[in-house]
């Protein structure tokens, strides 16, 4: 996922802001990490360069 994509991304459920946490990044893109929606208390993973923004249940704990 290219960083340039970030400004147009939002939570699929509440359409609010997402907070990016990068675990692995190369010269071109973010390969692994998370996009967190604080309003929904959901963490969406970025895996193999693909942000997984399928709607999901809130994180527990």
């Amino acid at each position: 996922m290219k960083r340039s994509l970030l400004p147009i991304l939002c939570c699929p459920v509440c359409k609010g802001d997402l907070e990016l946490r990068v675990a692995r990044e190369n010269e071109e893109e973010i390969v692994e990490g998370t996009l967190e929606c604080r309003a929904c208390n959901v963490s969406y993973p970025i895996e193999e360069g693909i942000p997984d923004l399928l709607p999901r249940e809130p994180d527990k704990g």
Binding site: M1, V13, I50, L53
Partner: protein
């Protein structure tokens, strides 16, 4: 949507386009006529393995299947895993939206069309390609094993039904092209 089928049989899905090159290229050419110049803010919703977005120059795709998304990435498409009914894109971020052979897999097209309307800029273009109910293609693929795997749970629509859904969700229809049971409609956000 039968996501498990696309996840499980991603290679078979993608291979269909190799086995049916003539048909694929005919569909591609018809879509290109109605969506001639997608820009950097164009998106395909239900991008699959990138067989349409890549040759059309659409830089970004929404796709629920991770396996198909990886194939689309290999074709140079930026991929977001997501659903048409709850698109993770901000309002009025996209200049045009393409959706090909997706409507038949939606439980209800209305929430999806509302989301497409939301992400489009004012006067933005929505091009939809779909297999017509009782059309030549729907009849042809019923007995064919490969395509049947994917289409067995599909619900097909007539062009009139799709036009009515578009109007209901805030689009105005510019153009309808129906050939051999595959219909392409271009609409604009009203």
């Amino acid at each position: 949507m039968p996501e498990d089928v696309f996840e499980r049989y991603a290679k078979e899905y993608d291979h269909w386009f190799e086995e049916h090159r003539e048909e694929y290229h005919a569909e591609l050419a018809r879509i290109r006529r109605l969506l001639p110049n997608p820009d950097s803010r164009a998106i395909e919703v239900g991008a699959g393995s990138g067989r349409f977005a890549a040759p059309l120059g659409i830089p970004l795709g929404i796709e629920p299947s991770h396996s198909l998304g990886l194939m689309a990435r290999q074709r140079g498409i930026g991929v977001i895993r997501g659903r048409a009914e709850s698109i993770p894109i901000r309002d009025e971020s996209c200049s045009s939206v393409l959706m090909v052979t997706v409507i038949c897999f939606l439980d209800d097209p209305v929430p999806a069309f509302c989301e497409l309307h939301r992400i489009l800029i004012p006067d933005g273009t929505f091009v939809i390609g779909f297999i017509e109910r009782d059309g030549q293609i729907a009849r042809k693929y019923k007995p064919e094993e490969g395509k049947r795997r994917f289409l067995s749970c599909a619900r097909f629509y007539t062009p009139e039904e799709v036009r009515a859904l578009l109007v209901k969700t805030g689009f105005r229809v510019d153009c309808t092209e129906s050939v051999t049971g595959f219909c392409v409609i271009a609409a604009r956000k009203d």
